[in-house]
């Protein structure tokens, strides 16, 4: 990568590999010390067709860290902001708990933390900044989850997205999500 080039962090979720084991959910809960009953990522199982011709897709979902994030636009205090590499974060000190961002999010990726601020996936920025991977990606036993810089054409995510078919969730909202589902 050329020095100084802007990073664009994205995640890919391989729906052909994901078995819905919930390891990502548990890893995230432990790594980020989430309160009981709350999760920053979750498993969705979508079944389509008419019995017996059914097909099933399993997805590990989380905040999409949208390039045009409606939550950041809706936030009245600047608590929701875009950080390094396009990661959308919440500054707990600035958050009033007004919930405008929750109403604005098309993915229901945010919730109110018992401490009063709004909480969501951070792509484990504290690990990424030290050169690590998000906890969910590191723990995924089927290697369905990948994380990296899309602006780096050599990165695994860039190669996967150029070689595999993919989709994003609710593309019609115009939020330009950065979590890609390989199909």
């Amino acid at each position: 990568m050329i020095f100084g080039e802007k990073k664009r962090y994205v995640m890919t979720v391989d729906t052909k590999r994901c078995v819905g084991c919930n390891s990502c959910v548990i890893a995230c809960k432990q790594e980020n010390r989430l309160p009981p009953g709350a999760t920053r990522d979750w498993i969705v199982t979508e079944t389509q067709g008419i019995f017996p011709a059914l097909s099933q897709e399993i997805r590990s979902e989380r905040c999409n860290h949208c390039s045009k994030s409606p939550c950041v636009s809706a936030c009245p205090t600047g608590a929701s902001y875009v950080s390094t590499g396009g990661i959308v974060l919440v500054n707990h000190d600035k958050c009033t708990g007004c919930k405008a961002c929750i109403a604005a999010c098309p993915y229901e990726a945010r919730y109110v933390h018992p401490k009063g601020h709004v909480d969501k996936c951070t792509f484990c920025i504290h690990r990424v900044q030290k050169g690590g991977l998000p906890a969910c990606v590191e723990t995924c036993p089927t290697k369905a989850l990948r994380f990296g810089d899309l602006n780096d054409s050599e990165s695994e995510v860039a190669r996967l997205l150029s070689s595999r078919e993919w989709k994003t969730l609710n593309p019609g909202t115009g939020a330009r999500p950065n979590v890609y589902f390989l199909i």
Binding site: T45, P70, G97, I102, Y111, G116
Partner: protein
Amino acid sequence: MNEIDLIRTNPSIDPQLHIWGWEIPVYLFLGGMAAGAMILSASLGKKNNSTWVRLLPFAAPILLSIGMGALFLDLANKLHVYRFYLAFKWSSPMSWGAWILLGIYPVAMLLGVLRLSPSELNWLGNRLRSANVLASIRQFAEEHEGLIRAANIGLGAALGIYTGILLSSTGRPVWNSAILGPLFLASGISAGAALALLFPMKDEEHHFFRRWDMAAIGIELLLILIYLLGLATISGPDGALANEAFLGGKYTAPFWSLVVLGGLLVPFTLKLIESARGLKPTLVAPVLVLCGGFALRWILVYAGQA
């Protein structure tokens, strides 16, 4: 078949969105009524008005204060409320709202001081032990009457529209309609007029408020029709959700009975009969308008989260 299974129990979003409770419709209603009070009292000329009409400008800061109290109760992180005033985010309707609210207090108070009778002004000056300050405020207000009236109409309209935009700027199908801004403004003007009509006043003042109330109700009915047409033409699952709300689902009965019939059509008809036959006005129509205005916001806030 297309079935989505999800096991998640996140607070405030599962099993369905429930971020905003009773505090928000209370605030939206009182804010709308305050907007109506500002617009109407600024539009009404200064012609020896009766006591309650003269005091109407003061309704805006009082109603807003109660509404902001409700809004404060809704905050999950109450100690951080001051953060609203450490930032201005042009893309956030809530940020616009926070600053508009702040501007309303001085503007509405100036109009109030402008409208007080000399004896009321004396009384207030003595009570506050600052007759001189009040007299200079009054003089300032008299010199800038046109500007103050325009500012009350402008900020009142901004407040009324913003209470609707607050909901319509979200991605929820029932809320995501630009009509909510003007609809809440019209409903707020009608609520402001209804509030004034609860008090005794001169006949010509009564006519003024009734005319505004009937015009606002007429516009409101038209806007509700456009709003429902908008909902009915949303396609896909979002459209089903939106239609479900008012055209056959859970909120259909309360919406049509409390808002459209009880809050708009019945009081409009009562006012029509009242003015056509020159009958003595009763409190029935304004009370119905106020209940309907509150029901409109209550139902919309809850239906948007269903």
